[in-house]
C-alpha cells in the first residue's frame, strides 16, 4: 500500500455515560483500540452494523470526537500532524485538509442560504480566499466538478432533489481542497437510481483530485463497488480489513461472512439459502469478554469467551481477529458458507 495519509494506532474513544447512583461512573468505548492505516489516494470502506462505532471512528480521525487513547498521525506532502498534539494554528489548518460529507443533505444545508453561499461558507470561515472574485472562482470550479451549474448556484437548497442536494454538500466539503475526506453514509438516504450517480461522482472526484476517502456505509454492496480496501467493525473494534476483492471472495472472520450472507440476493431462486446471524449487537457499555463477537458466533469455542483474538495479518494486507482465522474456510458460494475445517479446540 502507498504511504498512509492517516495512521491510527490503538485509538480509543471513550465516553462517560452518566454517573451511577453510588457515585460509580460508567464508560463506553465507542472505539476500542483500533489500528488502521489509510493509504494516500485510497477509497477506504468502513462497514458494520449500527452502533459498531463507525461514525465515532470517522469523527476521531477528523479530530471531531475526543481521542482518549492511542495516536493518530496525518501526513500529506506538506505537513505531518499528530492529532493528539495540535496547536490551535495546526488544528485550523487540519480542518481544511480533512473534511466530512454529511449523511443527510437536508439537515446539513441551511434553507436560507443560496447554493453559492453554502458552498462558499467554508472558504470564508477558514479565510482561504482574499476576494469575492477568488471565492466565486473556487465555488464555480468545485460546482462544475460536482455537476452543478451557474443557474443552480443562485437557487435555494429546497428547490433541489435529494441527489442534487447531496452534490451540493459534496461541493461544500471539497471546496477547501481537502486531502482526506470522511463520507459518512453519504448515499444512504438516496434512491437507487440516484445513488449510482453520486457514487460515480465521488469516484471521479477522488481520482481527479487525488483525495483519500474513508467511506462509511452500512451497505456492503455499495462498498464492494467503490472501495479498494474495506475494514469491518464490530463493537468498537476492527475484526477484519482487506483489499475489497479479497474480503468479498474470502472473508476470514465469521462476522464478515455473516454480514455478507445477510445481503438479500437479487436472484429469487436463492430464496432461503442465506446463513442468518442471530441476535443483536450487544451494548458497548457491557461488552462480552474475550472475542466480543462470541455471543453471536456460530463457531465460538471456550477460548473465544476467555481470550481476545488479535488482529493479525493472514496474507498480504489481509488482517482478521478470530482465533480460528487460519483454520476457517469461509468461501462464500451462492449465499452458503462452508463449515470450519478442523476448528476444534
Amino acid at each position: 500500500m502507498s504511504r498512509p495519509v492517516i495512521e491510527a494506532v490503538d485509538l480509543s474513544v471513550r465516553y462517560r455515560i452518566g454517573s451511577g447512583l453510588l457515585g460509580g461512573r460508567s464508560y463506553l468505548n465507542a472505539v476500542d483500540r483500533v489500528s488502521v492505516s489509510i493509504g494516500r489516494g485510497s477509497f477506504y470502506g468502513l462497514v458494520g452494523e449500527s452502533g459498531s462505532g463507525k461514525t465515532t471512528l470517522g469523527r476521531a480521525l477528523l479530530r471531531a470526537a475526543p481521542i482518549t487513547e492511542g495516536s493518530v498521525i496525518y501526513q500529506d506532502d506538506e505537513v505531518r500532524y499528530d492529532l493528539r498534539n495540535l496547536s490551535a494554528q495546526d488544528l485550523k489548518d487540519y480542518r481544511k485538509r480533512a473534511q466530512l460529507i454529511f449523511q443527510d443533505p437536508y439537515a446539513a444545508l441551511s434553507p436560507r442560504m443560496t447554493v453559492r453561499d453554502i458552498i462558499a461558507e467554508p472558504l470564508e470561515v477558514m479565510g482561504l480566499t482574499r476576494s469575492r472574485e477568488e471565492t466565486d472562482a473556487r465555488v464555480r470550479e468545485i460546482a462544475a466538478k460536482c455537476r452543478l451549474n451557474l443557474e443552480h448556484l443562485r437557487r435555494f437548497p429546497h428547490a433541489f432533489s435529494g441527489g442534487q442536494r447531496q452534490r451540493i454538500s459534496i461541493a461544500r466539503a471539497l471546496v477547501s481542497r481537502p486531502r482526506f475526506v470522511v463520507a459518512d453514509e453519504s448515499v444512504a438516504a438516496l434512491d437507487v437510481s440516484i445513488q449510482a450517480d453520486v457514487l460515480n461522482l465521488l469516484q471521479a472526484i477522488q481520482q481527479e483530485m487525488g483525495i483519500s476517502f474513508l467511506f462509511i456505509s452500512h451497505d456492503l454492496s455499495v462498498v464492494a463497488h467503490v472501495c479498494d480496501h474495506v475494514a469491518v467493525m464490530y463493537l468498537g473494534q476492527l475484526v477484519e480489513t482487506a483489499p475489497t476483492a479479497e474480503l468479498f471472495s474470502r472473508p476470514r472472520h465469521p462476522y464478515t461472512s455473516a454480514l455478507l450472507s445477510a445481503i438479500p440476493s437479487l436472484d429469487p431462486d436463492d430464496q432461503g439459502n442465506a446463513e442468518k446471524l442471530e441476535g443483536e449487537i450487544p451494548s458497548p457499555t457491557n461488552p462480552p469478554p474475550g472475542c466480543k463477537f462470541h455471543t453471536r458466533c456460530r463457531f465460538a469455542r471456550d477460548a473465544c469467551r476467555l481470550e481476545t483474538p488479535a488482529l493479525r495479518e493472514l496474507s498480504a494486507g489481509h488482517f482478521a481477529a478470530c482465533h480460528f482465522a487460519e483454520e476457517f474456510d469461509f468461501r462464500r458460494e451462492h449465499g452458503h458458507q462452508t463449515s470450519p475445517v478442523n476448528a476444534g479446540v
Binding site: 434512491d191 449510482a196 457514487l199 456492503l220 463497488h225 438479500p264 430464496q271 443483536e280 449487537i281
Partner: protein, 337 residues
C-alpha cells in the same frame, strides 16, 4: 374463478394542497390472492404508502379518491367496498380486523403511555370476541412466536424498553394477533441493519406459511422483494409501470425504468461492473410529465409519442403487464419479450 382477496381497480388519488390538486396515485390496479405475497417497489414519493394507506382508509383529510376508483376486500362472508365505508365502526374491518399494517418505524404503532401487552389486549378485545384472559394468553403466545425471549415479562413492558429489532418483532406480533387476512408491510425492514433485516424477512416468511395470510410488501429494495414476494408491481410517479411474477420482472425486466433500476444496483457477483444511474432526477409531483410519466428520464423514449400519449398496458406472456409504448411496438412487430 375465485375472487382475489384484495382487488384494487383504477385507483386514482389526488391531494388538495395550497399548490392545487396533486396526483399521487394514477390509475393503479392490482389483485392479491389469499396467501399471496405481492411486492410494491418504487422510489420515494412514487405513491407506495398512499396506495397502501388507501386500503385502510388512513390517508389525510385532503385526500380525493377518484369516483371510478374501487378497492374490494373479498372475505368468505362478505365483500367489503372499502372506499364506500363511512362510519368508524364499519372501518374496523380494514383497520386491524381483516387488514393490519406494519411500518418502518415501529414506535408509530405503539401508544407511548401503555405497555405493549395492554395495547395488544385492547386491540384483540376490539376485533375479536375473546375474553381478557384469552387475549392476554394469545398476546404472550404471539410475542413468543415472533422470537421475543421472556415473552410474559416483555408483555408488561413499554415499547421504548425494547431494542430496535425486538420492537419490529413486537409490532409484527401485534399486527398478526387478530389474524388478519391481509398484512400491509410498509418498508418494515428499511431502517434495520442487513443482519436484522434478514431475521425479520425470515420471520415474515415463516408466518405467511403458518397463517396463510396475504402480504402487500412495500420496499424500495429489490433484493428483499426477490427473497419474499411471489409477484411484484413497480411504481413510478404514481403509476404502475410493470407488474408480473418476481422472476419475470427481476430476471427479464421489460419496462425501461425497471431495467434502469436493476442496472443502477451494485451487484455482489460482479464487482467490476459499472453502476449505471437512471439519468436525471425524479420530477416533482407538482409537475408530472405528460404522456409516459417516465419519458423525461427514459433512454429509449420514442420522440413525439412518449411525451404526449399515456401508454396502455401491454400484456406479455405469463400474465405480465407493462406500460410502455416501445414494448407495445415490439410486441406488435413480433419481438418476443
Amino acid at each position: 374463478m375465485t375472487q382475489p382477496l384484495l382487488s384494487v381497480e383504477d385507483l386514482t388519488i389526488r391531494f388538495n394542497t395550497d399548490e392545487g390538486l396533486v396526483t399521487a396515485v394514477d390509475d393503479v390496479s392490482f389483485d392479491i390472492a389469499q396467501g399471496e405475497v405481492m411486492g410494491l417497489v418504487g422510489e420515494s414519493g412514487s405513491g407506495k404508502s398512499v396506495t397502501a394507506k388507501s386500503i385502510m382508509r388512513l390517508n389525510a383529510g385532503n385526500t380525493r379518491y377518484d369516483p371510478v376508483s374501487r378497492i374490494m376486500i373479498n372475505l368468505p362472508d362478505r365483500n367489503v367496498d372499502v372506499l364506500a365505508l363511512r362510519r368508524d365502526r364499519d372501518l374496523r374491518v380494514v383497520r386491524g380486523g381483516a387488514v393490519s399494517m406494519i411500518f418502518q418505524e415501529p414506535m408509530a404503532s405503539f401508544a407511548p403511555a401503555i405497555t405493549v401487552g395492554q395495547q395488544m389486549v385492547e386491540q384483540l378485545l376490539i376485533h375479536t370476541s375473546m375474553s381478557k384472559a384469552e387475549a392476554r394468553n394469545l398476546s404472550i403466545e404471539m410475542l413468543d412466536r415472533v422470537g421475543i425471549p421472556d415473552a410474559s415479562k416483555r408483555f408488561g413492558q413499554y415499547a421504548f424498553e425494547f431494542s430496535g429489532g425486538m420492537r419490529q418483532r413486537a409490532m409484527i406480533a401485534m399486527a398478526l394477533s387478530t389474524r388478519p387476512r391481509l398484512l400491509i408491510a410498509d418498508e418494515p425492514t428499511t431502517a434495520l441493519d442487513v443482519t436484522i433485516q434478514a431475521q425479520v424477512v425470515d420471520l415474515m416468511k415463516d408466518l405467511v406459511r403458518e397463517f396463510g395470510m396475504a402480504i402487500l410488501f412495500i420496499t424500495h429494495d429489490l433484493g428483499v422483494i426477490a427473497q419474499t414476494a411471489d409477484k411484484v408491481a413497480v411504481m413510478y410517479l404514481g403509476r404502475i409501470v410493470e407488474k408480473g411474477t418476481v422472476r419475470q420482472v427481476i430476471k427479464t425486466p421489460a419496462h425501461p425504468y425497471t431495467l434502469g433500476l436493476i442496472n443502477a444496483l451494485p451487484k455482489l457477483n460482479d464487482l467490476e461492473a459499472e453502476l449505471t444511474p437512471v439519468p436525471g432526477d425524479i420530477p416533482s409531483p407538482l409537475d408530472r410529465p405528460a404522456g409516459c410519466v417516465f419519458h423525461t428520464r427514459c433512454p429509449v423514449a420514442i420522440k413525439g409519442r412518449c411525451s404526449s400519449e399515456v401508454p396502455n398496458y401491454t400484456a406479455l406472456s405469463g400474465g405480465r403487464e407493462v406500460a410502455c409504448h416501445l414494448v407495445e411496438e415490439q410486441v406488435k412487430e413480433g419481438v418476443s419479450l
